[in-house]
């Protein structure tokens, strides 16, 4: 149905994104494209979607064949692809469902109808088409809902529905499961399987090799723009793709510092040096980064209580718990016909040197709990204490030196012109002199292995690197407590390992970490215990989760 022969694709800055990659997709086939960040997955997906980039200074040499029509590029005058006509035969769902919305539809039905309406489909046929697609993708109950109020899984299904409204023969999806919990992932996967059963060819790009793939699917693994493996899923799992940075979905991260350490108290008394982390499994640059990371302000109990120059005023006070939530409740304002969301009577505590993972499905209240830790949300009732002090009315900005927060959405937390300015913002806001702030920023960037990117604009970096910049900008303020919302969402194997190492290294120096995640394997590998939330309440722990969790490798 569609075939790509890519001799080379180079961007205008001469960086080659793809070399010698061929791919053919037939009716009802699924090709799973896997590869680490920067391996060329998105470039490949865009090529298949007809975005050969001629107008953007991109040089593509090769050929695209769609239903027997072969278009050759790089041999003189390139053929021009009509995006509207191409997309009616090759649907493309780019990364980030939110950006796929037309922004002029007030209901899911109008959103699905947007494409065919643009192509002039008569009103009666338009309504039948929307109804049929909605029935197929189990969206009938949502047709009258505003697409901006949907949950992640519902939104992703709506975007897929909109992409298949013109009945394309091939559907290309770039990371369609990013940020979805298990049940939403299963819903979207079921929809894709249904489309395949109806004869649609699928190309799905993911950073990790999925646990479950149809037996007749084909895996294409990319590394630095070249194909390093092509074959059935069973062979892919045994092909040692981890050496190319392709991890297996659901596998624990590789932590060289023996994973979860001893109990927090023991670790505080006998800390693992931060520098011991990471050397075996991450690249030299990133490993050096972990080694060079400035430790958090918390320190081993045996250390003298002196303060290194330039460190913030706040210090752990004696044996005080780092975080204490006592019977905290919070309710979001709700529409009249909706049940109010929020959290109810949440009790939670965290010791210094401890890592706790919050688990639960989308909407269970994980992010709401996290936002209480630095005052982004204030409880309706209950008490929040950070480092022994009641939060009260202290502004969020004043807590930044104690509590660092990594938001789920990376791009909404990057706001400076260069990576270095971005990372130095926190120390500057905390009152550091320019030189000291730049120094702290440099250390933090080295910590995440991004020293060489200091002068670039954050938007020039790949998603994974932007995520690491956001993490570095949090680390630069040297907060005692790290609050991480979905830290591994969308990360490749290497990024996931690195974040795991950084979390353990921070805990080893007496810092505390609370993270919310859907990545259960990651949570079990890096955390001392997990706390599960459901419908805004903490579920009772069964036994001692820390002792039951499997040891990580």
């Amino acid at each position: 149905m569609i075939a790509l022969e890519c001799i080379s694709l180079a961007y205008d800055d001469n960086a080659t994104a793809l070399v010698d990659v061929t791919l053919a997709v037939h009716a009802g086939e699924q090709v799973q494209v896997v590869g680490p960040s920067g391996s060329g997955k998105t470039t490949l997906a865009r090529l298949l979607a007809g975005r050969t980039g001629g107008d953007a200074g991109t040089a593509f040499r090769g050929a695209l064949t769609l239903e027997g029509t072969r278009l050759e590029f790089g041999t003189g005058t390139d053929p021009r692809i009509d995006p509207a006509a191409w997309s009616s035969r090759v649907g493309y769902v780019a990364q980030g469902a939110w950006g796929q919305l037309s922004m002029m539809s007030s209901t899911v039905a109008e959103e699905i109808a947007f494409g065919p309406a643009n192509r002039g489909m008569p009103a009666g046929q338009l309504r039948t088409t929307v109804r049929d697609i909605a029935a197929k993708l189990q969206l009938t109950d949502l047709l009258e809902r505003d697409p901006r109020t949907l949950s992640g899984g519902q939104l992703q299904r709506t975007v897929i529905a909109a992409a298949i409204a013109s009945e394309p023969q091939v559907l290309v999806l770039d990371e369609p499961f990013q940020g979805l919990d298990e049940s939403a992932t299963a819903d979207v996967a079921a929809v894709l399987e249904l489309l395949r059963a109806h004869g649609t060819g699928l190309v799905v790009c993911e950073p990790l090799l999925p646990r479950r793939l149809p037996v007749d699917a084909r895996v294409l693994a990319l590394f630095e723009g070249s194909a390093v493996f092509e074959g059935p899923p069973g062979d892919a799992r045994g092909a040692g793709l981890r050496r190319y940075g392709v991890g297996l979905e659901g596998a624990p991260p590789r932590l060289s510092s023996a994973g979860r350490g001893p109990t927090p108290a023991a670790r505080t008394a006998s800390p693992t040096p931060a520098g011991a982390a990471g050397a075996a499994s991450v690249t030299p640059a990133r490993a050096a980064g972990v080694a060079g990371l400035t430790p958090a302000r918390g320190r081993p109990a045996g250390d003298p209580p002196d303060r290194a120059p330039g460190l913030p005023e706040s210090r752990p006070k004696g044996d005080a718990l780092l975080v204490e939530l006592e019977c905290v409740s919070f309710t979001y304002p709700a529409q009249p016909d909706e049940a109010p969301a929020g959290i109810r009577s949440v009790d939670f505590s965290l010791e210094r040197g401890e890592v706790v993972a919050l688990l639960g499905s989308n909407g269970s209240g994980k992010s709401t709990v996290l936002q209480h830790l630095n005052g982004l949300l204030r409880p309706v009732s209950g008490v929040v204490r950070i480092d022994g002090r009641e939060l009260g009315r202290r502004p969020t900005g004043k807590l930044a030196a104690t509590v660092g927060y990594l938001f789920q959405n990376t791009d909404q937390q990057l706001f400076e012109r260069t990576v270095l300015r971005e990372v130095a913002y926190g120390p500057r806001a905390a009152g550091k002199k320019r030189g000291a702030a730049i120094g702290q920023a440099g250390d933090a960037l080295a910590g995440v292995g991004l020293s060489g990117y200091a002068s670039l604009h954050p938007y020039e970096l790949s998603f994974v690197r932007r995520r690491l910049v956001a993490l570095a900008s949090m680390i630069a303020t040297q907060p005692l407590l790290w609050v991480l919302d979905e830290p591994t969402a969308g990360l490749d194997d290497e990024g996931r390992n690195l974040i795991g190492e950084l979390i353990r290294a921070h805990a080893a120096t007496g810092g505390g970490v609370v993270l919310a995640t859907h990545d259960v394997a990651f949570a079990e590998a890096v955390s001392d215990r997990t706390v599960t939330l459901a419908a805004g309440r903490v579920l009772p722990a069964a036994g001692s989760p820390a002792s039951e969790a499997p040891p990580s490798q």
Partner: protein
């Protein structure tokens, strides 16, 4: 509860715009006052959301009215009938009259346009314009207000929260102003990046297609309303022309 809709939003918006034109052309405080009392006030009260419109109206119009009163009431060079004098400032009857005329006009502008836009159903408006075959780009600009404005507001809110989480303390006065500046740069950059991605998305969804666009929503417009819109426009244009011509001849 929003009121029961009688007219198509396009008809209502056009009526509001024509009312503004009439107030501008006639330029008499009595006429402005009559429109305000006989048309705008009942429209706001019957809109189903008088409190919200009233509040917005106050926020938008009150500073303008106040500054007009101070400026024209105290510093009107053509004023001859002096009521009171404080140094440079002279309160004159002519100045107060002019301030009242300007104030009334502004109240009518703001009242008519805000009431019409705040009660209009944008999806219905977009659907009507599509059914009438308006330019799809213009329709998109109007229609995207549905999604884009709340999206921009939400994005600005997220950026501010991220900055607070990294140490920005939002206080009053100058600090608040500085915070606003800090939010605007990443907001605009982010929106431009989004816009570039969205252009590709729109193209891929056939937005640049040249055939006439269709609409999922049914046409709620009627032949009578279409005729009424043409008639209203015609009457106002002819009346304005005659009024200005006779006024100029005097």
């Amino acid at each position: 509860m929003p009121r029961r809709r009688i007219f198509n939003p396009l008809t209502e918006l056009l009526a509001a715009a024509l009312l503004v034109v009439l107030v501008l052309v006639i330029n008499r405080w009595q006429f402005s006052l009559a429109v305000l009392v006989a048309v705008i006030l009942p429209a706001v009260l019957l809109s189903g959301r008088p409190r919200r419109i009233g509040l917005t109206l106050t926020v938008v119009a009150a500073p303008l009215l106040l500054s007009s009163l101070v400026l024209h009431g105290l510093f009107f060079p053509e004023g001859t009938t002096v009521l009171a004098q404080w140094g440079f400032a002279r309160m004159t009857v002519e100045g107060l009259e002019f301030a009242a005329l300007m104030g009334l006009r502004m109240a009518v502008f703001a009242g008519a346009l805000l009431t019409a836009t705040m009660t209009a159903s944008i999806p219905e408006l977009v659907s009507t314009m599509t059914h009438r075959g308006w330019n799809r780009k213009l329709v998109f600009v109007i229609g995207s207000a549905v999604g884009l404005l709340p999206h921009v507001a939400a994005r600005a809110h997220h950026i501010l929260r991220a900055q607070q989480a990294r140490g920005l303390v939002v206080g009053g006065g100058l600090r608040r102003f500085k915070a606003l500046l800090m939010v605007s740069t990443p907001l605009v950059t982010g929106l431009l990046v989004d816009a570039s991605e969205r252009t590709h998305m729109l193209e891929a969804r056939g937005f640049s297609s040249t055939v006439r666009r269709t609409s999922y929503l049914p046409d709620t417009d009627s032949a009578a309303q279409r005729a009424a819109r043409w008639a209203m426009t015609g009457v106002v244009v002819v009346f304005s022309f005659l009024w200005l011509a006779t006024g100029a001849a005097k």
